[in-house]
Symmetry: C2
Subunit: 178 residues, 2 copies
Amino acid sequence: MPSALLIVDDDPDVLKAAATALARAADRVDTALGPEGLAEKADLYDAILLDMNFVAGDRDGAAGLDTLDRLQAADPALSVVLMTTYGGVVLAVQALKRGAVDFVLKPWRNEPLVQALGAAMALTAERRASGKALNLDELEKRAIARALKLYEGNVSHAAAALGLTRPALYRRMERHGL
Amino acid sequence: MPSALLIVDDDPDVLKAAATALARAADRVDTALGPEGLAEKADLYDAILLDMNFVAGDRDGAAGLDTLDRLQAADPALSVVLMTTYGGVVLAVQALKRGAVDFVLKPWRNEPLVQALGAAMALTAERRASGKALNLDELEKRAIARALKLYEGNVSHAAAALGLTRPALYRRMERHGL
DNA sequence: CGGCCGCTGTCCATTTCCGGACAGCGGCGG
DNA sequence: CCGCCGCTGTCCGGAAATGGACAGCGGCCG
């Protein structure tokens, strides 16, 4: 499936520069001048590069953090990379604690930017794949594998930890090919 | 069970000040002048406040990041809060990406410090509790609860996601009291 | 050397679970 | 207003799973 990035900044020159830098990072690179309607299309993207301020004169990053929160609520698996000119340590720590996967200072260097967005897209893919693993059979298989590893193949202990009898665990191990 | 914090800094005055500030945050507050042997006693603590530099003149935080990595390897559930005087955005972002739960700049204010370590201890407790939930019944119950929440009580969709038929899901919901 | 312990893999009478089918309900669109 | 759709909760003949019991093995200790 083709990958898609979105870059959100109120400055058209920044959008152009970032889109150029990231042109080869994804199959499609979209741009937006503001965060309006982002939450509704969160699932269309594999990563978003999001500015923290959208109004000339704003510097505190509150708009970006708010948008980040709404993106995380809409699609928790989506990786968001934040960027700003004015950020300090406190803002960076806040951003990562609220779910951003990276933080980029303007003016950026292209190679670290491409790397950051590449890593973000890979993380989104991984999260989305594992988020699909709600299937009980898959969860059971992983739990059994984990228990066997934890107890180094001791089926008695693993069964006890899993809340199963040994014959029951044997049957499930066979069913899962473990 | 009594809670325990550890503060690691090469400056005895910093240790004393931080220990005083955090005296009521945990039942026991230990201090250490360096990171030696930390990994071996990671499971004795509920959170660690860790300096990033341990040698006079060092400023790059590499030692702290390295110690963080070793603590995470020893006990992934343990929450580590990093502190430094010299940190910039890049260091803060690096620290959080490598698993620190918060980042504190010196000189700190006591109230945010206490809050950060309190939140860190709570997170460690939550992570340690959820790590213990290997019991298949408990995992199944949580997965079903998650699916029902995700699909807003729609049993048909939740059953499909879980890989169950609707009657099967009804039976398990009843068994788990959901 | 022998007994004990804690593990192994498997058996089978009994119990539990399965899922297609049924009847019903509320919302929506023609 | 009616038909359709997608959901709801429940049923029951048949299929699958259960777990106490059995036999066996390797390591350890007296």
